[in-house]
């Protein structure tokens, strides 16, 4: 007797008990030689005895559950195809939901690791125009206007980040954060080791001290607690390599409220240095007083606006933007998150409906079994519970399979996902995910079991025996068709959404860049300030590199620039541009325009078409300052007037050397130069970097006839010849452009995968119901054929009936899609949410697949043998 059987010890039936006692009575009578009545008396009250026996077996709830599980297991073993199909479908739904939840948890749900994070807000000043998204504040404004913390806030702090380098045995390029001394206290974060910044650390000129991230501590110092007091040789944009003592380690889950940093240093804004000509921008964060909302705060700050405005150029009108830290951190990507979560929920719903449908079919099959159980004393509730137990067990098994699948799926998502899905890189199946998965499993189990349970309960079991199994008793097909309708509707919504996204993706991928990205390869190098302490040193490196690059085999042209397309806004940022001969100020034609520093041959390298005038020549490196405009800039600055030969001037100059006037020598076509491929071209001017004096050139671009791999090898070799320790990044322009489509690609493919699977499930559901219908009506169909209906008519009737439900589903689905795709609009590029082509395509795909699904049942109906069908009873 095996352990399993012992576990599921079979309960003797009431008949067993009755017969056992009768046998006893008979044996007693025979043994004692008395009649049965006397023997029975000896047993006492037979009914009472039997009741006592039965009570022994009346199982506690979990005993019953064990029994239910046992029955379910046995029935699965008898019908493995059903069990496997149902488990797979559910596992797919649960696995995908779990994996996606894990991927999006940090972005959408997990509270940020701060004390009372809902009261933390980012306070920025935004301007209209291209830099509008930068939510910053001039440091001098922060120090002077916010001398005392503004009324809506309990406390306020500021930060900024830059690149920095640990210049030691193993150099390491990092992000450094410059923060006010109260930064961690405002966030409500405690250091893990050592001490926090003190006010005296944050005074201009005080010795710098550093807090390091937990990751850096573990990676670089082996989590050695004696790291406190150790010196760090640090190079920042503000200072060449200098020794900074480590005073503490940040907690493991620490996260910057914006951007990222491995090392924190005091920003030392106070006292303000009067010699600094321009304010730098810092990011301000504040803790709201209890009961104050971000909107309230924004209103309460309004009176300060005129004061703050003084720190900005007059042409830039600013406004306050107060929003929760979470919203700022995640921004627009949250929409993508909700979109994907919505899609996977719909998918899970479809999977549930699908399995519920399968279960109903099974209930119909098991009608007799249930009837027999009812006859031998199982109550309605007991039967309904049995149906429910099966569904819970199903979802539990599927959930376990799905959880295993979720690990793989999550890895795929992480590999596919664009970088702007916050936190996806460290996504893992943790306790939170586990709890959510468990919840989903239970809800799913109940959701798929509730219909079968109700139908069993209503049928009360007994009908099954009275009927002949295959005729009209049991689950009404209407319920099953309603489920199919639901499935079709949801599938159509998914299909429509994915069609829209695919069309949008097509548009994004085929956005004309405005230049020729083929055969262009770029090299970027962040030069170490230790090796290249002055701008001239850095310039020498890149000029030498440029000279050598022009000489490599296959090189057609090469140029340097501060930033290069595909879309990468100019590093110099946007600035006001004045036109010679016009007065500045409200009446004058001032516009904010991007300035890109380039070297001659830039236009040839990128294949940017010249519209009029000329491009730069080598002579421009040293001659009169020249400028080339793009068409948008020409339109804004000159508005149809003659532009060639006129002079323009950036105000204020972005750096000290830009004080002179620039003569317009040419106009080129607009190219995609915004943050994203889908941004319309921004006005932009190109100026020639002055030889040996530029600030930010850090990129070499080369047009070549060589294969990209060869060109890359050549460039790498060139850089290594110049400086073997310099880290460079080499990439083709085409690859960069492709990376910018990562987000639409990810969303489109994910949704399409869901839609395709949903379509498959819908087809399976329809097939199963239509088959069920044909089986159930076999007799009627037989009669109809016997009295002369043609097979074609019979088949048409089946298709027609299924068609009604499909059309119903399509109508509901269109309504669902119409509502759902409004949320999609923000992710669509040059496609309307109600794009007729996408929806028509979705409908067509749906119709096609579903017609294929009904084909076989209809064929079977047409070939029912009337004699066999009528004799079956």
């Amino acid at each position: 007797m095996g352990m399993i059987d012992r576990w599921f010890r079979r309960r003797p039936t009431d008949d067993d008990m009755r017969e056992e006692l009768e046998a006893h009575v008979a044996m007693r009578a025979e043994h004692d030689g008395v009649n049965e009545a006397a023997a029975r008396r000896r047993l006492g009250n037979v009914l009472q005895t039997r009741e006592a026996m039965r009570r022994v077996w009346i199982a506690e709830w979990w005993d019953a559950l064990r029994q239910d599980a046992h029955y379910t297991w046995r029935s699965w073993r008898r019908r493995p195809a059903f069990a496997i199909a149902a488990i797979l479908v559910l596992a797919l739904g649960l696995g995908a939901s779990t994996a996606l939840f894990a991927a999006l948890d940090r972005m959408l749900f997990k509270p940020l690791p701060y004390a009372d994070p809902d009261r933390l807000v980012s306070v920025g000043q935004v301007t209209s125009g291209p830099v509008g998204s930068i939510e910053s504040m001039p440091d001098s404004g922060y120090v002077q206007v916010w001398e005392t913390t503004p009324a809506p806030f309990e406390s306020a702090t500021e930060m900024d980040t830059w690149t920095c380098v640990i210049v030691e045995e193993q150099p390491e390029g990092l992000r450094c954060g410059a923060v006010e001394d109260n930064f961690l206290r405002v966030l409500g974060v405690r250091v893990a080791v050592g001490r926090d910044f003190a006010p005296e650390d944050d005074v201009r000129g005080a010795p710098r001290v550093a807090l390091i991230s937990h990751g850096l501590w573990v990676r670089r110092y082996g989590a050695d607690p004696s790291v406190v007091g150790r010196m760090l040789s640090l190079e920042t944009p503000l200072a060449p390599a200098h020794q900074v003592p480590i005073i503490g380690v940040l907690p493991p889950d620490f996260e910057m409220p914006a951007e990222a940093a491995d090392i924190l240093l005091p920003s030392q804004l106070r006292p303000l240095d009067p010699r600094l000509p321009f304010p730098t921008l810092v990011m301000a964060f504040a803790r709201l007083k209890p009961g104050v909302t971000p909107e309230d705060a924004q209103r309460m700050l309004a009176p300060q606006l005129p004061e703050m405005q003084k720190f900005w150029p007059p042409s830039m009108r600013i406004a306050w933007k107060v929003q929760p830290v979470r919203d700022r951190k995640i921004g627009d990507a949250a929409r993508v998150g909700w979109l994907l979560l919505g899609a996977v929920t719909v998918f899970l719903l479809i999977a549930c409906v699908n399995v519920a449908n399968l279960m109903l079919a099974r209930v119909a099959e098991r009608q007799r079994e249930f009837a027999i159980r009812a006859a031998v004393g199982a109550g309605k509730i007991r039967l309904a519970r049995l149906a429910l137990a099966e569904s819970v067990l199903l979802s539990l098994t599927a959930g376990s399979v799905g959880l295993v699948a979720a690990f793989t799926l999550l890895r795929t998502f992480v590999a596919m996902a664009p970088a702007d899905i916050f936190g996806i890189a460290d996504a893992s199946i943790d306790v939170r995910v586990f709890v959510v998965a468990a919840l989903l499993i239970v809800v799913t189990g109940v959701a798929i079991g509730v219909w079968p349970a109700i139908s069993v309960f209503r049928a009360g079991g007994l009908q099954g025996l009275r009927s002949t199994g295959t005729s009209s008793a049991g689950v009404r097909p209407r319920v099953r068709f309603a489920l199919v309708t639901m499935q079709v509707a949801l599938t159509l919504a998914l299909l429509g959404g994915s069609a829209l996204l695919l069309r949008s993706l097509w548009n994004v991928v085929h956005v004309p860049l405005g230049f020729d990205a083929e055969r262009v390869i770029t090299l970027t190098a962040g030069l170490s300030r230790t090796k290249y302490p002055t701008l001239a040193h850095g310039a020498a490196f890149f000029e030498e590199l440029l000279a050598r690059a022009r000489a490599i085999p296959g090189a057609m042209s090469a140029a340097l620039s501060d930033a290069a397309p595909p879309p990468r806004p100019p590093r110099g940022g946007w600035t006001n541009m004045g036109v010679d001969g016009r007065s500045a100020g409200p009446g004058g034609r001032h516009a904010r325009i991007g300035v890109r520093e380039v070297t001659p041959q830039y236009f040839e390298t990128f294949g940017i078409p010249l519209v009029k005038g000329r491009t730069f020549q080598d002579a421009d490196w040293t001659g009169e300052p020249a400028v080339v405009l793009n068409e948008s800039a020409e339109r804004i600055l000159f508005d149809g007037e003659r532009s060639l030969g006129r002079r323009i001037q950036p105000t204020p100059p972005p750096n000290g050397q830009w004080s002179s006037w620039y003569t317009v020598v040419g106009v080129t076509a607009d190219i995609r130069n915004g943050q994203d491929l889908t941004d319309e071209p921004d006005p932009e001017v190109y100026v020639v970097a002055r030889r040996g004096a530029w600030s930010t050139l850090g990129r070499l671009s080369l047009r070549t006839t060589a294969r990209p791999a060869d060109a890359e090898a050549f460039l790498r070799q060139l850089a290594a010849d110049l400086d073997p320790t310099q880290l460079v990044t080499i990439e083709t322009a085409a690859a960069q452009a492709a990376r910018l489509t990562a987000r639409p690609r990810f969303i489109a493919w994910l949704l399409t995968a869901f839609a395709a699977l949903a379509l498959l499930l819908a087809a399976g559901g329809l097939y199963s119901v239509a088959s069920y219908l044909v089986t159930q009506r076999r007799r009627d169909i037989g009669v109809r054929i016997a009295i002369g209906a043609s097979p074609r008519e019979v088949a048409r009737q089946v298709v027609g009936e299924a068609g009604r439900w499909i059309i119903g589903g399509a109508l509901v689905g269109s309504a669902l899609g119409w509502m759902g795709t409004r949320a999609l609009q923000s992710q669509l590029y040059q496609v309307e949410a109600l794009d007729p082509w996408s929806w028509a395509g979705a409908l067509l795909a749906l119709a096609l697949v579903l017609v294929i699904a009904v084909f076989r049942p209809a064929y079977r109906a047409a070939h029912v043998d009337p004699v066999a069908a009528l004799r079956a009873d």
């Binding site: 010890r9 067993d16 043994h31 005895t49 022994v56 077996w57």
Partner: protein
């Protein structure tokens, strides 16, 4: 499960002990207890069957429908391994109890 204080424990002990002689049906068990105690112990037949089913459910005995020598269908019980272990335990505690009671009675 039943403990020593429970009067059912005695019945369980007798049932298990009886089954060490081989599989038997309820009536056979009652008869055997009756005879081997020379009529001193008379099994309450009304509580015999619930006790048998309790032991069955606990896994100490197994039940099976068989046909007896005189052609009668009977539910025959058989001792399981757990049953043997259980019997040893109750026997020991029973002996301890009996010894204790005997000593107290001597003192009185």
């Amino acid at each position: 499960m039943a403990n020593q204080e429970n009067p059912q424990a005695a019945l369980e002990l007798l049932i298990l002990k009886t089954l060490t002689t081989g599989p038997n049906h309820g009536f056979g068990i009652a008869l055997h207890i009756d005879e081997s105690s020379s009529g001193l112990l008379r099994v309450e037949e009304g509580s015999l069957y619930p006790a048998l089913h309790r032991l069955d459910k606990a896994g100490f005995i197994d039940a099976e429908w068989t046909v007896t020598e005189n052609g009668r269908r009977a539910r025959v019980y058989r001792l399981t391994r757990e049953g043997r272990k259980r019997l040893k335990e109750i026997e020991e505690s029973w002996n301890t109890l009996a010894e204790g009671v005997k000593r107290v009675l001597r003192w009185a």
